[in-house]
Symmetry: D3
Subunit: 134 residues, 6 copies
């Protein structure tokens, strides 16, 4: 049985590779490399898989899961500049893939090992990624 | 090949454990334990996996699947109080997890064994569960 | 300039007219008259019209508007039985129309007179109402 | 790590089996067998699974994936009659299942073998299919 | 007080002007003039404005409104070719604007004069029209 | 008859008043005043009201309207920092209200006077504004 909680956060970011010229960055990342940043409303689905607790009928209390997501993810990334404000992306490009990876790693440390964890992240209504661990 | 049919039903429910005090119920279930019930618009996705029939191009006729879902699930739960009106939840807490489990078990008996079955159930736009059998 | 804030609440309710027989109630309200209630995820859009304040760029601070809606509407109706728990509906049928009317009247008292107010309420994804005052 | 791109196309189609009588076609396919066709706004999610490239932070450049989908799928099927205009469906019924199968086979030839590929196709908001290869 | 019912229908159509050459039709209507048609999932919102009936709490019974829309609009246009199957469009181009106009005129004859009527029609998720009468 | 085209753009921005201290800015704008910016996926509906042209069945060619919106609005604001990159907001706070006002004024100059114009802009799924001119 899997349960899913959906939360959102709004951030600025920029995609560029400091080892490359501005021309190569623009060639690869297009307008995503704009030096002054752009931004997104990120939508995050957090999926937790486990057994139903017969006393509560829950796999995990979704209010508890919501609190973890809000405290550990939204507080960290919402209304931030991922490149400048967030230490997680000082040496890692804040692509949707890497943001999902970082989120998965953070949430993993806050969930009991008996749970499987998967995250899906929408950067726009047309672009999304999903990560379930290695 | 998987096919999916989406249907909805609107029900009242309450989460509480009769073995616990009102205080403990409120502590665990919060306002979901309100004695006079609250309610949701449940959204149900039913996923059926199988081979394509070359005569029809269908895995399963979605009109046939729709009829099963409406007759066996929506007729049973729509505009009902899950706790009071539905025998399935007289001794089982109507959490989203348990509702999905009950729905899966009902639908399983109405589908040929050559099909795999999975259900996803949204309780709100932010909370959902998924069950694919044991 | 109009601004809009969207919030949700989840409630149980029942439609019936105490002056009518059960048969007439079922004839008019159908399964909405189920004695044990059913429920909905209500979606509420609150529209406020006014001039832009040049110091803030806001018509009204949407965080302030959100707080009013959550404190005055969601606190009152979320995870409640509208018929049993909410004095507003002791002598008023909790149809979507009347819920919107009640919400409009409550919000009106909390907003400065220089603002025009309108509310849209979805009972299901297919049924909604809108009220802009008399 | 999986990434997903969502695109749409609008097509006319008709479901019928040329080996059957009109009566049998109507019995099996209902109004989907209307001789003059009907149509849908198809929504296509293309899922690609692979490793993150450390230089770009991408599994695959979504602009590149978007171009493949638009050039190979949307150009072929958008504003077309699938039965009459599209050679892929001259001897294959354009059911959602078969459309997804055809799309998967086309996209597969345009993606490096190191990627896994999956497609999800909505024919209506209530009916969808998913195919991940054989 | 306004109430709204949402329904859908799926149709094929083609935009072309019989007084023009194929070249001019393609110049003006682009791929919408494809001779073999294309199609859409149309989404229709029907808005009815009136006073609340104190006995029911309704402006109009939405089940009654739903039946009118399904019988008079969906039955007529769903799984049809608007150009070939529907007499309403034999001499009128089935643009979204004209479809909305035709729907408004049909529904108007089925609603009491004390109601105001407005329709909104989505042809795609990005294109829609709205008509409230002349 | 009104027609509507929906487009999107993704931008970074920051709300702050240069006449105020950082403390007052944080007090009024909260985390929206973060010096390093944050961002949004803006969704823009452009509504144009006019008469149906009998030769085309259109109020306005939505492809033509789409091109105006993409060339004049999306090109200007998509993947930009509204505060730093866009001259329109050098002395105007980029609140949703002011962005809608600026968009309306730009689009107004590109549309024939016989059309009425209205824009709706979503900053998040819960916050939106609407402007129809003065």
């Amino acid at each position: 049985m899997k349960v899913c909680r959906r939360e959102t956060f709004n951030s600025a970011h920029r995609l560029f590779n400091p080892d490359w010229s501005d021309e190569k960055n623009f060639e690869v990342f297009g307008k995503c490399s704009n030096p002054n940043f752009h931004g997104h409303n990120y939508v995050l689905e957090t999926w937790v898989e486990g057994d139903i607790d017969s006393e509560t009928g829950y796999v995990i209390d979704l209010k508890y899961l919501k609190d973890i997501i809000r405290n550990e993810i939204c507080e960290r990334f919402d209304h931030r500049n991922l490149n400048l404000d967030c230490v997680e992306f000082h040496s890692l490009k804040p692509s949707a893939e890497n943001i999902a990876l970082v989120i998965w790693n953070i949430l993993r440390t806050h969930l009991d090992n008996r749970y499987k964890l998967s995250v899906r992240l929408w950067e726009t209504e047309n672009n999304s990624v999903e990560y379930s661990g290695h």
